[in-house]
């Protein structure tokens, strides 16, 4: 069973762990790598990592639950991060979230039924000059207006969305 799981581990992750094993301050870096490759931290993965770097599972969970970035649930294919830092809040970040809710039918920290989108809130991505800001799948959108959202989501092939629009 155990060997089987190692066999499944992504090679990039194994290489990374081997490279970092002897380094100081490797724990969080390795967990970042797991999440980069798998999108979230499956329990089985946490167990593997625990074994490979010889760190108790409880410690790993201690880290994962403390830091906001680590996800225990599978996010959508396209993650939408809406900034709710101060600048974005003042310039209407709330409206962006409620508009996303209107369009996608999901609130913060939820995934659409088809698994395509998930919405989360982040605290300042450093583009405050362009507030309000959101990030989809690594791409940043600034100076957002509610009306821009359908078009932007359209870039991610959201045709369902256009249907929905027509219904309203």
């Amino acid at each position: 069973m155990e060997t089987q799981q190692i066999a499944q581990l992504d090679k990039r992750l194994l290489d990374f762990i081997n490279e970092w094993k002897g380094k100081k301050g490797k724990e969080i870096m390795i967990l970042h790598k797991v999440q980069e490759i798998y999108g979230f931290l499956l329990r089985a993965l946490a167990m593997e990592v625990s074994r490979l770097i010889d760190l108790p599972l409880a410690k790993i969970y201690g880290i994962i639950t403390f830091y906001h970035i680590f996800k225990l649930k599978k996010p959508g294919k396209y993650q939408i991060s809406v900034c709710m830092g101060t600048a974005c809040y003042l310039k209407g970040g709330n409206d962006i979230i409620s508009e996303l809710e209107n369009i996608l039918g999901i609130g913060v920290n939820c995934v659409t039924e088809d698994g395509k989108f998930s919405v989360e809130v982040v605290r300042c991505v450093g583009c405050c000059g362009l507030a309000p800001v959101m990030i989809i799948h690594g791409k940043t959108y600034g100076n957002l207006k509610k009306g821009d959202l359908p078009k932007i989501l359209g870039e991610y092939g959201e045709s369902v969305l256009l249907d929905k629009e027509n219904h309203v």
Binding site: V125, G126, C127, C128, G129, L130, T140, G142
Partner: protein
């Protein structure tokens, strides 16, 4: 590159001067890219090649601090004042290449100023 030794830095500064007649510097921090800076960069890259403007260096830089007019870029040509253009879209970009880079005529469109002098150059003057 061989590892540098004491004194090599000064030699490097003496011997590696830029051979270009000017440069186009595009703001490409996270915010500049978010505002479209990278597509403007690509446009300049391909168009400048096409127009044979290879004595002008195209480069990217960090955030100039002018977030309100991103994407922005600076054109520095020998014998002309440095000009910063803000809110550069494709149309302005083409105009800048056709007029400013080619004919040395400043485009009367979204021109802006460098908010400050280049103090860095003064601090580390040789």
């Amino acid at each position: 590159m061989n590892k540098m030794k004491k004194g090599d830095l000064a030699d490097f500064r003496r011997n590696h001067k830029s051979s270009h007649k000017g440069e186009v510097v595009i703001s490409m921090g996270t915010c500049g890219i978010a505002a479209g800076g990278d597509s403007i960069y690509k446009l300049f890259e391909s168009e400048m090649k096409e127009k044979g403007l290879d004595n002008i260096q195209l480069k990217k830089t960090g955030c100039l601090g002018m977030c309100f007019c991103e994407p922005n870029l600076v054109v520095k040509l020998d014998g002309m004042p440095d000009i910063l253009y803000g809110n550069v879209d494709e149309k302005t970009a083409i105009l800048i290449m056709n007029e400013h880079l080619t004919k040395k005529r400043i485009v009367n469109f979204n021109t802006i100023f460098m908010p400050t002098d280049d103090i860095g150059k003064k601090i580390f003057r040789d």
